[in-house]
């Protein structure tokens, strides 16, 4: 412990300290401050870059999500259109098949009618022939052509009536 007043030491302290400030300011604090500032700038720019990268990544994620959403919508649309198209095709096919069936039925009906008519004509001829033969044998006379046809018509009419009666 030294409590004696020593102005010389006090002055030396001031001189030494002033000199130390001058020397350190030149050789230490200024370069150190520059280094610290450079590092601070580097850290700041790294943080900025990281932030920009994060924003970019977030943007990309959002873009991807948007693209995914659009793709999903597109897919749904395509599937829906496919369904619609298949429905249309099915409807058309059904319609065409209906039309063809109707045409075939119509054709068949016409064919039947034609055949029926033909059969009736044949039947009529046969009946007329039979009537002529029967009348020749029964009454010994020849009937004229007109009479034959009349008899045949009457026979056919009877046949038709009996058929209608059976049906009803």
């Amino acid at each position: 412990m030294d409590l004696n007043l020593d102005i010389g030491l006090l002055i030396w302290t001031l001189i030494t300290f002033a000199g130390l400030i001058a020397v350190l300011s030149r050789f230490a604090w200024k370069p150190l401050r520059r280094l610290l500032d450079e590092r601070q700038d580097m850290i700041s720019s790294s943080i900025e870059e990281a932030r920009a990268g994060r924003d970019e990544a977030r943007k990309l994620v959002l873009e991807n999500e948007e693209k995914m959403r659009q793709a999903r919508e597109e897919m749904h649309k395509i599937v829906e259109e496919g369904h619609k198209l298949s429905e249309e095709i099915r409807g058309e096919a059904r319609e065409k098949a209906g039309e063809r069936t109707a045409a075939m039925i119509e054709e068949a009906r016409r064919e039947i009618e034609r055949e029926t008519k033909k059969s009736l004509e044949e039947l009529k001829a046969t009946v007329a022939g039979l009537a002529v033969r029967v009348s020749r044998q029964v009454i010994g006379e020849n009937l004229d052509e007109k009479r034959h046809e009349q008899i045949a018509d009457e026979f056919i009419e009877k046949l038709r009536k009996s058929r209608d009666n059976k049906r009803s």
């Binding site: 412990m1 002055i11 002033a18 230490a28």
Partner: protein, 249 residues
């Protein structure tokens, strides 16, 4: 452990009654300055991040701590200009304090346990405070600090002397605080080691020796804390001088 006494190494004739002879204390002071300079320059050499070692990291951490705690993060340019002064103050006091922990009796001692050294440092702070306040606020602004605003004129009769006294006591308190703390720690260590050596019987001596080891560790902490406290208060006074005394209250 023996306290180093004043030894004149190179004698100069007195100038206006002041003895500027080179003593062992002046040499220790210079040694402290040289060690501070070497440490600072060693920490600041090399520009690449790869050259950073533990020592440099520690040094930078201390520098940033002083800047953050003493100057403050949101300080203006004028206050920032005080950084070299305060950094030099902190590291110089720290090194001078730690030189007292070098266990070579009769050679090393903390020059900060000499009131003349701490007074010199406190006067440096005081002088810079006056210069900073006058340059930033003018002579009237400087004198206005002794008469707080909003006080009746008649109260100035009592307040001005009190303000002047409290202002003058600042460097005194700075000098005495550092001096007293360094002296007390070293005296305590001296007593404990003295007890351990003087006991003669190792079982009795081991207790004060162990206490001396613990106290030495504590003393290292005190060396750091006292350097920090001195710098912190110096920074506070200087900031007050630069930014105006109303701003810091």
């Amino acid at each position: 452990m023996e306290e180093a006494t004043r030894v004149v190494l190179v004698e100069f004739p007195k100038v206006f009654g002041i003895d500027l002879s080179i003593t062992n204390e002046v040499v220790l002071l210079w040694l402290g300055a040289i060690v501070t300079f070497l440490l600072a320059v060693a920490a600041c050499r090399g520009r690449e991040a790869a050259t950073r070692g533990r020592f440099r990291n520690l040094f930078e951490m201390l520098v940033e701590m002083v800047e953050k705690e003493v100057i403050g993060g949101n300080a203006n340019k004028a206050t920032r200009a005080l950084t070299p002064f305060l950094l030099t103050m902190f590291f110089f006091i720290l090194v001078c304090n730690l030189l007292g922990m070098v266990p070579i009796p009769g050679v090393f001692k903390a020059v900060t346990s000499n009131i003349n050294v701490t007074a010199g440092l406190a006067i440096a702070v005081f002088a810079l405070t006056v210069v900073a306040e006058v340059s930033h606020h003018g002579v009237l602004g400087f004198l206005g600090r002794f008469m707080p605003a909003g006080i009746p004129r008649w109260a100035g009769v009592f307040l001005v002397p009190i303000e002047i006294a409290s202002w003058l006591v600042r460097p005194l308190s700075l000098a005495v605080r550092l001096f007293a703390n360094m002296v007390v720690g070293h005296v305590l260590l001296f007593v404990l080691i003295g007890m351990a050596v003087a006991s003669g019987w190792w079982i009795v001596g081991v207790l004060p020796a162990a206490a001396a080891v613990v106290m030495s560790c504590f003393e290292l902490f005190v060396c750091f804390i006292q350097a920090m406290v001195f710098t912190l208060l110096a920074g506070l006074y200087l900031k007050e001088a630069v930014e105006g005394h109303q701003a810091t209250h």
